[in-house]
């Protein structure tokens, strides 16, 4: 573990009283490697190490904690702080229906998440409507319709229309069928696909969502920052969903995305079934990233 690695590196700190630049240089290198291995973005790692160094310098090496434990505590606390200490909820509208739009790269888990979110909101007494606005991927509409049937949530779509019209029509449909939350599932798209990014911009402009969620696969590497930045610039999403955290990926993208675009992580996906959705806990993520 990082604590063990740091203890080996830092055992010479014992009896030195305070942490200095020279005696923690090696341990900061270990931390850098651990964070890069965890897929934290290289720029975020640089800034993070600078912060940890500043916070560690001059600290007294309390004899009750090993120097390794002390540095890890500083790192852990800093990670939790960066990951967001506020529990961030979904924004609902004061006048129904609330509109939630789900976006992200191909295969990140948007359709599955849309089903999970509908399931969660239904259990909280809401009447969600799922909207199948992915007209590109083969059987995408069938996929969402199947999920909707599993949890007995209606799915709105129109196999003759384009995503923008489907999204627009879904709001009227929600009103006329007394659904109070609309969850719009969109096609996976590349941040650099101009036409597709214009499509989500126009859907946003047209239906004015109360909440836009950016769904990211937790095993994503350095590309997390590139794509999150562009999506954020183009549609200013409200929150992030990190999926497939039931695997063993360290999930450093959580830290990268949060620190670069400053948007909260609201949910995590922890399985393929529709009940596999959890709220985001920064402490758990921090431990996971540290490995």
């Amino acid at each position: 573990t990082l604590t063990q690695k740091l203890d080996t590196v830092l055992h010479k700190l014992r009896g030195q009283g305070r942490i200095s630049e020279t005696n923690i240089a090696e341990s900061l290198r270990e931390v850098r490697l651990a964070l890069l291995d965890a897929d934290v973005n290289i720029q975020v790692v640089k800034d993070f190490i600078d912060t940890v160094q500043k916070k560690s310098l001059g600290q007294e090496v309390i004899t009750s904690l090993s120097p390794g434990q002390l540095i890890v505590k500083i790192i852990y606390d800093e990670l939790v702080k960066l990951l967001g200490t506020e529990k961030e909820e979904i924004q609902f509208s004061t006048t129904p229906p609330s509109i939630i739009m789900v976006v992200g790269l191909q295969g990140s888990g948007k359709t599955t998440f849309s089903g999970k979110l509908a399931n969660l909101l239904k259990s909280k007494g809401k009447n969600p409507l799922l909207v199948a606005a992915d007209t590109y991927r083969p059987a995408a509409i069938d996929q969402l319709e199947t999920l909707g049937k599993t949890i007995d949530v209606p799915v709105f779509t129109n196999r003759k229309e384009k995503p923008l019209s489907i999204a627009k029509q879904s709001i009227d449909h929600a009103r006329s069928t007394m659904r109070d939350v609309v969850i719009i599932d969109t096609a996976g798209r590349l941040a650099i696909d101009e036409e597709m990014m214009q499509e989500v911009e126009s859907i946003k402009k047209s239906v004015q969502p109360d909440e836009i969620l950016f769904v990211v696969d937790a095993m994503i590497g350095q590309d997390a920052v590139t794509t999150a930045k562009i999506f954020n610039e183009r549609i200013n999403f409200d929150g992030v969903v990190l999926t497939k955290l039931d695997g063993d990926t360290r999930g450093g993208a959580a830290l990268s995305i949060r620190s670069i675009v400053q948007k909260p992580i609201k949910f995590i996906g922890v399985g393929e079934k529709l009940d596999a959705l959890e709220l985001f806990y920064p402490e758990r993520m921090a431990s996971r990233i540290l490995g």
Binding site: Q143, G221, Q222
Partner: protein, 282 residues
Amino acid sequence: ISATGKIDENFLEQLEEIFIRADVGAEATQTIIENIKKKVKEVRYETQEELQTIIREQLASIFVPNKYEEEPLTIPEGIKPYVIMVVGVNGAGKTTTIGKLANRYKEAGKEVFIGAADTFRAAANEQLEVWAQRAGVKIIQQKQGSDPAAVAFDTVQSAQSKNADVVIIDTAGRLHTKTHLMEELKKIKRAIQKSHSTAPHEILLVLDSTTGQNALQQAKLFNEVVGVTGLILTKLDGTAKGGIVFAVSRLINVPVRYIGVGEQMDDLQPFNSKKFVEALFS
């Protein structure tokens, strides 16, 4: 100018950053840079261009040679049907890649059968059905919830009885950490072996090029469980560089067979190590 065996420190730092940003990984980057330094000391260079060439050649040499690079659709003598099993984690691009691959073989005059052995995920059959239609190939499927091993077995049997050339088996996405799902994958492979003793002839692991260091764990475990014979790297039309493929191909010692460069049927290319290395620096 006289030849030198040294590389400027700033240049090395820039190189390191390019590699890390490309998801090559911290450890692999260190090894690669050490090897570059050794090579440069040995062969020496006079111009920047020469140095760049040495670096690119060093990188390209990491890949296990793809013996089918010139003729990717080669089927070894006497193997009929040639059975390909496609595996990987959720959402990597397996089903889409199978559609593209089936089309390639079909266009090369081969008769192809696709096996819809993802019997778990919502609308998995329907999705693969669309691809089979587009490629003009036969699909064997059973209803959602059926035994995937039975579908795989059925597909190879049907292909054999119809004297088809190629069988491609799609499997459900699964995280390598799920023991029971990895056991299921073993069962699917055994079923294929039962229906044709030398099959499967290829087991392709599909990796999403946006994946970070977790790709190493994926490769390690899929290889341990079913034995991977080749890699496919998808979504290279995006901004991710797919640099994890260096460490992965070294770890499990297999070639990269194809790359996915889009969502349409023609968006599949045979892997070219020189082009891939060049794209790292663009």
